[in-house]
Symmetry: D2
Subunit: 462 residues, 4 copies
């Protein structure tokens, strides 16, 4: 239901660094399909290829990877949070500084981009994109520090908000996470190579061994001298994105040090405890709520069934639902299994309801396929407030739970019952009882204050 | 693991017949992704558009549907069984006969194509493709009968083998199934329009109501005068394709008058009875064996889990597994969920093992993700013989079960145990105890004798 | 101003026959840019690739030529005269007959296509395109003769109208011209290989030696046994297309046994004698009337100048003239040279005026560039009647000279004087005093009577 | 034979400024086909679209022009002199400065790019391309002046070398030429709109009236207040590029205040006087030497003929000459007219011989087409030294005249005689007797000293 912005990947010390990065980005495709790109360095130069679309589209034949020679590479899958949709905004962002080349790929969202841009423009800086990445590279280029790593620390000291970064020069790889650690980033090893990735599933894809998270507030520097860990800022309370566990990350990943799958199962079990249902079967909205649904089934003793099948051929269908067929968009995404649903009282476990539009279609499809009763169970609290740290939520007005009560939502969806997991339940399911998690989208308590944001602007004067 | 050749769809009496056909083909996409096409008639003319790829690629914008005006249309998704891969072989096949235009779309495989072609070539017929469809249209064009429907009966009387057909002229729609009824075809209604489709899921997609199967040996003729059912041939023993239930059809479909989902569940339950396992969890190879796995879990009492996730971004990756990463192809298709698998004794339910290559990769991935034991259970008997009626099995030599014993296959796959459902069990799971099913791929008893086949030849002299 | 339909090429006995054909088609590109195709045979098979666009677009990389292996090939550049614009109508046309494959490429236009199609459809023939080529291949396939060459003679005996043909089977190449010889076709040698081409410029391109024309009514058969010339029909009066000399063929070609360039020069000289002008300079409308203009200048003693430059970047501009700029289309084609034209009395030599639209723009551009007087001299008589033998003239109504007198045309074009070469003058410029030329477009005397024509129909029932 | 780098165009005060720019760029296509782009402003924003290829390819349908709304626009056709070939280097270059947007398009070549880049990088400037344009925009952005025009003057005061510029902000248009005036730039009016263009042929295309040159050292500022002319630098000796007259500019253009066509004709006449020939005909290498050849013919009294025809279908042919056919590349460019050449003593007038490769092919083709003698006459002196001001000459080693004497070149080309126009003759043909022209490529006397140049580097560290 939701889309996260970006997946990032980096590797140092592999003779075919760009190819490994390609594979890693493939495993992170769910984090962004809008554009993809890889920058690779060979000690002397840094080369870049980016394009619109999925990584297999951008690198549609091997010849596009060949120029990206070298032992280090970084890559990026983008789903636009800030910045427009054009190729110009595709990442990694590559530029020439006074004595080196710098490529940077960013997952997250800064909250002081506008004042930073304005300040640098005053002294002559040029901006060609509207990405946070360009702002960060400008900060790096302007630092008076001698060492690149010190320039990066200098730059990051001025940035506020959420960032997980991979940065390449022609002969080094750096990775960093903001002190609150909003977005995930982990570290692994593949033979003698070092690998960093948004999620561990990308390490699995390339057969790398998971080591640990890049820690909040840590800057990892990797070059021919090996790996150094810098922690330039005082330790602070963390604010891990709880939504990564609930929805974004792949269930086979480890993030924030814990298994996504196990956490989702706990969400489902606690949901069953908080909101039992008198029903015949439990179904999921595949694939994101599969694990929570299994947890719900296990805890409730109600049989898990596959009542909806996700269509593998979604593609882009140009025929609009209104034109011919009711609920068309949902129909092209999901196929209800009549034989499973007919005459049954059905618990549908969903991970989140944002605008309510898609789910309304799903509910109607289930009803038409013969479901006798529909009991919706959501494995998270109602979303009432936008995210400023990298998740592409709509504005507050579009969030159904900011406009309607649970009872009203139930009526809107035309279902028989509706239950959301409580905040307490959700946190209880998180590792460490959710002590250090950002829950701003559920309760509007923002760990970092928002300064101005650029929004989705084209490069035009306002 | 297997691919079936084609999906067909037809509609008569709808002002936007081509658009409805587009939607119906979308629902039948799993039956063939190689090419797609629609022919539409408006009483005076018959127009065609075909292309390589999925239906959303072939009709990538609405302007491509617009010329296909008219109240009747037929469509085809193709996976090549006979004929080469080129655009020339895309269907429907359209030609001008002496007094009308004829478009035809075919699912199945004739067994006397070669003698039919040879005979017609003797008297001057030209062949521009290697499809059965062209042969059938030639037979129709050469018939001396006055009425188109009689010509079609005349033509089909000469064709042997498996066919489910939709045929359009500029002002009529016909549908036919061979007397043994190998391939499925059903009839539905959408308001005042008549709809035919390979599977009922296409009726669901367009909100049409399922009426009944087009019967084996039936020719349905639909025109402004309404629908007529012709049964020109004596009734005979049927030979429904058992593989449609086991693997091909979508689980939310009704075929041969019965729910696919329910049949698969019975396969899974009987499999559990025949081949129990001492295990902690049951998993499927998503999505095709999901239902059988649920049936196995239910009957065995072992917990169903999601241990493999199907990747939604398979696409075409050009980097070959050997180059960088072991089991790469399987890795891009499936993600093993380590948290679910680790230390567990796992039953993996699969619907079929053809060559064994892919499954070997899956088994290794499961092992590397921590599975303690792997018990493979296949919801059908071993495949030992090719299909000549429309399923794209490899030659006998490539079928692992025609070369190895079950014990040898187990060793080849490097798993802890392997059990196939028995022939008796499989038939018991089918509607009507499998009395009228073709099981040639399991026991080499072919209901219709094979004459020469064209195979995958390009249009070149041998 | 006019476009001819097609260029054809064939070669036998060269190890890279398809590549040579590609080069030959490149030299014949001016005869058709709509589609291009090559069929190649290796003794056993015959393979085809066709596409929309120029030959360098259709074979945009070498991999598209590679499958076309073999020692013989034929090729075709198409500008549609009959048939629609789709890929289906691209030539060569390839089909399988009873004992061989046949590929055929055609330049010209039959006049009895409709009755031939109708007759064959009565006995079951299928038509998939609307080309004359398909009709011819059907006739060949239906012939009961034993030898392919006899079947071809049999087929051509039934065809009326204009044809220059190259025909390939998997192991032979044939070339034929209709008995009146409307369209050009010549024969050459490249080492041990035989080459046929619409114009000799294609022989020059591949460094082949020009031998002679394929004669009107001749069928040339080339196979491993060498070349045989068959002349199955009684000799008749010829009807060479005079327009090939006036406009279509490349000036560096030999056609109908004579130099195009020299003939055009004679046209220009005779034009000067018939229609002198009191002027300062002579200019051409490049490039087609260059030679005639030089002839006019030489005979008149008036200085030849380059007053219009042909733009090499015509391309397809989507902005219509009316929208922004007057005479836009002409402006993108030709640049008037102000310094040459300013204050001058200008003779503009043009080869033909069909609708008058383009020339009206040119005249206005010349005036705006400063020409004091504009005297138009046309190196052919007024075109008053359509061509049914392969030239894409508009219908009679669109031909300005069938609607207006010379004086009225002069006024329409807003020029100071206008003179057309007389019929007698034109024929005098032709080889052999024009004794055996078709002049139907100038005097409506058609050497072969027109039966029904298909016109530009799509494959739809009328 | 040579390629110049760029064509630029700008317009202010037209409701459809981008469309007019599109047309203007079409007329300037000969100045660069590698990439094309347009930036348009509407008072508030500045929008850009660029792409690889000719302007009709980059703006292949009207929808690509539509977002470029506004009353002012600038455009650029690029042939790479500095910078690599990628889309990143396409112009105009657009960036956001502290209080406005700036787009800039550049024709020419700076000679102090490297030190300027280095200096700005020291203080934190980022470079994303290797174009001079980016350097210039950085200089503008860093200027502390209040008014944009003062910032531009500030920036240009630091730039050395050749530049003709159009610059747009969201509400103003500026044009500038370096004080020596290497590259042409002219000013015109279209109704109430102001237009600037590299050559007057672009004014003609859009029906604008030619007013005058933008003068060397002039900065023209156009906004709602009208047009102001600034001349911030002391007047200096000019250095107009003599090659614009000899080869680059379109013959129908006015540049440096004079007709290109008339100048070329004078070159041809003087060439005839310096290097007469005993010959039958004079031919040109179309189209660039047409006018000089006419001048030669007129002065010598030898008849002008069209002995070579330029092929309109050059395209990109992937088959290399060596593979099949000798002189293939020349053959696809030019068709020799055998009937004109056969047995004749031929004077071939050419404008320049750079490496000699192409001309050697041409000479051989002429010989094979029957020319009895070949007398080459070049309408400029031998090119012995590279250009650093914007013309894409090869390095000195590749210039045949820097390596060989005239006699040796004659032998290399295998022709009967060879004559170059003298330096004196060339200057005599220029307006004002060539008093203020750059002739560095002929005598290595460079008017502005070269500092480091970037060359064709990708963005990589050396």
């Amino acid at each position: 239901m939701l889309r996260e912005e970006c997946g990032i990947f980096g590797i140092f010390g592999h003779p075919r660094a760009a190819e490994i990065t390609y594979l890693g980005l493939h495993a992170l495709q769910h984090r962004g399909e809008e554009s993809s790109g890889i920058a690779a360095g060979d000690g002397k130069s840094l080369r870049l290829h980016t394009g619109l679309g999925q990584v297999t589209e951008v690198f549609r034949d091997h010849s596009l990877l060949e120029p990206l020679a070298g032992h280090l590479a970084i890559g990026h899958n983008r789903y636009s949070t800030t910045g427009g949709d054009s190729l110009c905004n595709a990442q990694p962002f590559l530029a020439e500084c006074r004595d080196c080349y710098v490529a940077l790929a960013h997952n997250g969202n800064l909250v002081n981009t506008v004042p930073l841009r304005r300040r640098m423009q005053q002294s002559g800086a040029l901006f060609q994109t509207t990405t946070d990445s360009e702002v960060l590279v400008h900060l790096i280029a302007r630092s008076q520090e001698e060492q690149v790593e010190d320039r990066i620390i200098d730059a990051l000291s001025q940035a506020k908000g959420a960032y997980a970064l991979v940065i390449a020069t022609q002969d080094s790889l750096m990775a960093a996470r903001d002190p609150l650690g909003f977005r995930p980033l982990c570290l692994g090893q593949l033979g003698d190579s070092w690998v960093v990735a948004s999620e561990s599933c990308a390490l699995d894809m390339v057969s790398a061994r998971y080591l640990r998270d890049v820690e909040p507030g840590e800057v990892v520097v990797i070059d021919r001298g090996g790996l150094r860990s810098l922690k330039p800022w005082p330790k602070t309370q963390h604010a891990f994105c709880v939504f990564e566990f609930i929805y974004f990350s792949r269930p086979d990943s480890i993030i924030f040090g814990d298994n996504v799958d196990k956490t989702r199962r706990r969400l489902g079990k606690l949901l069953a405890a908080e909101h039992p249902a008198r029903a015949d079967i439990v179904i999921s909205v595949p694939d994101s709520s599969n694990t929570a649904a299994l947890g719900y089934a296990e805890a409730s003793g109600i049989r898990f069934e596959i009542g909806l099948i996700r269509n593998h051929y979604v593609g882009r269908t140009f025929i609009k639902p209104s034109q011919q067929v009711r609920d068309f968009e949902a129909r092209t995404k999901y196929n209800p299994v009549r034989g499973v649903l007919k005459g049954k009282r059905v618990v549908v476990v969903e991970d989140s309801i944002v605008r309510g539009t898609t789910f309304k279609h799903i509910a109607r499809m289930l009803r038409e396929a013969g479901a006798a009763e529909i009991h919706v169970r959501v494995s998270a609290p109602p979303i009432i407030s936008p995210c400023y740290y990298g998740i592409d939520f709509q504005t507050r007005d579009e969030l159904i739970a900011s406009q309607k009560t649970v009872e009203q939502i139930k009526e809107h969806l035309e279902v028989d019952s509706l239950g959301y997991l409580s905040m307490g339940g959700m946190l209880q399911a998180m590792p460490d009882d959710g002590a250090e998690y950002c829950t701003a989208c559920f309760n509007a308590q923002y760990p970092v204050q928002i300064e101005e944001t650029l929004g989705k602007a084209v490069l035009e004067h306002s």
